[in-house]
Symmetry: C3
Subunit: 250 residues, 3 copies
């Protein structure tokens, strides 16, 4: 159902069963996949300052909560979910299953692999490249300017698959956080983090292999987290993870 | 006055003299006490993903500023005040006089004693238990997952009465911050903080008794703050504090 | 164009060619300069809790993006730009060219010189004095209460011209950050920072002259940044900077 107070441009392409809440706005060059739900007070397809940046394409089954602003010029795979008060600028390419928490601030020009989870209030600078199954927690900043303010020297952050960046950490421009690594809370990440390692502190450093951390009940290692944490992922993905860790010696 | 553009479900129970601003939405299972004022662009009683979580009950004299989203399934005592752009999920039980600053993000399933003050942009994780007269400052995160992401091991933060958590601090899961203690700005709180102590740093540690800190004019100790700071609290509460510190030797 | 759903008080003084987006509210005592554009879901001239605080005056050519709340009782020079979801309380005096990023939280009673740039999610406490050409990055907090909560001892932060405060730093009450200095990311600034120096860490300290930092291509010093960074500043200002650094020995 489209709420009667919503303002939908007739040129917007809404799929089957799309719902749009009260006082929301959908601009012309927006494509919303089947079954998507848009909350109240949103604005989708906001024009970019740069001019024509192409359409906003959102796949099927999206849940966009209230007070979101999503610019034109981005593409999201199926199953996008956003919290409240989220701002997403142009130039995002996101695969299926992206979740952006409340108050998220995606500044544009960034890529996301499958099923990336951004908790509340994450600040993703331009040029960030985030691989599948990454987790980022509140108040994390992915920076891109080595000597702010500067021009022509920007370099985004790269985060490899399964990596976790805990709350209130700052990642320096051009840094790569390796596959399956864990950045501890409130860390200042100035260097590349090797795969599978814990990095922590201000200034931060590599501490130990992440697999040494045990779950609270000491039933096994906390990392790689996909060994024990499966909530919200597709069945085929979870079955793959289960098979991976069922192998002898894994 | 209910603004003519506001959308109020006829089943909502609004007390005497309630005001609702332009473009705000009040869902069916909402109870708003006498004299409460709701600003513009709010949504109260937002349905929870979990299904029926019961009503949203807000006591009398509430002031809910613009662009708030408050879910169903929470109860607030009289005198609630929120800033702008606040998000409050289901499962909050709050006594009278709670104040939540602008951009606050209460993730649900938390309890608040009387007259808790959250400054702007505080992130309260599920399972937090915050006692009466606590202060929390901007960009503080109360976490709950010891090995993110995990399931079944979450443990909220407990903050005892009169404690103060200064800006940009992160509190680890399951930590208890003792009565009247002070967590310094930008601290990483990994351990319990004993009552009445200062805890500070990244990594943080216990530094000294809080009562050793003097007010800027050296007229007396800055803590316990209730000795000198009374603004905004009920008369009977303040009279009790005055009596407490008028005793010889206090 | 004023969108037909916008609510404009007839007493508001809108200049030539002002645009106001859908579902936005402009109160009576608001003055918006020629050519200003206001996005959707905004509220301008919000009444202050303190009562009559005078008008909200915004110069010409302003761009106020969606979901902003700006209180009565402030004055902004020409060319104001704000991001989305910004909250600005009463008592701001800002010269021309102020930019406030998405999710900014200006708590009122602060002054800004020409062309100050606040990136996303900056928290500016009351009493802050920010000189011209300053840069402040995400999640920075300018505090003002030396012993929170206290009354009568507040002291704002002073930031001198051309200074840069990098992301996630906290500045203590009463601190002065000197002209052209650089505060590194995630720093706890407890002391005055001398002009032209780098200050960094938690706890922070003075590290070295800022001019020792080289641009990434080693073409010259990164600071003073006005030597190489000119984007978005008026021509006459940029010409002055170019002349300044063209002098022999500069």
């Amino acid at each position: 159902m489209i709420h009667p107070t919503a303002i939908i441009d007739p040129a917007a392409r809404l799929g089957e069963g799309v719902e749009v809440g009260p006082f929301s706005i959908v601009h012309a060059d927006v494509e919303l996949g089947d079954g998507s739900v848009v909350g109240s007070h949103c604005e989708l397809g906001h024009p970019a300052a740069a001019g024509d940046v192409g359409p906003l394409r959102i796949g099927s089954g999206a849940l966009i909560r209230s007070h979101n602003v999503v610019y034109a010029g981005s593409t999201f795979g199926d199953g996008l979910q956003t919290g409240h008060q989220v701002t997403i600028r142009e130039g995002i390419e996101a695969a299926e299953g992206l979740r952006v928490g409340t108050l998220g601030d995606l500044q544009g020009d960034a890529t996301f692999g499958r099923h990336v989870r951004l908790h509340s209030n994450v600040n993703i600078g331009r040029g960030s490249r985030i691989a599948e199954f990454v987790w980022i927690f509140p108040y994390v900043v992915l920076t891109n300017d080595p000597h702010p303010p500067s021009d022509g020297f920007h370099a985004g952050v790269t985060i490899e698959r399964f990596a976790v960046v805990a709350t209130s950490s700052v990642v320096f421009p051009g840094v790569t956080i390796g596959e399956g690594s864990l950045v501890g809370a409130q860390s200042l990440v100035r260097d590349d983090v090797p795969p599978g390692m814990i990095y922590s502190g201000n200034p931060g450093k590599v501490l130990a292999p992440a697999k040494r951390l045990l779950l609270s009940d000491r039933s096994g290692p906390a990392y790689p987290w996909r060994r024990h944490f499966h909530r919200g992922y597709p069945d085929d993905v979870v079955q793959g993870w289960i098979a991976e860790f069922a192998k002898p010696g894994s």
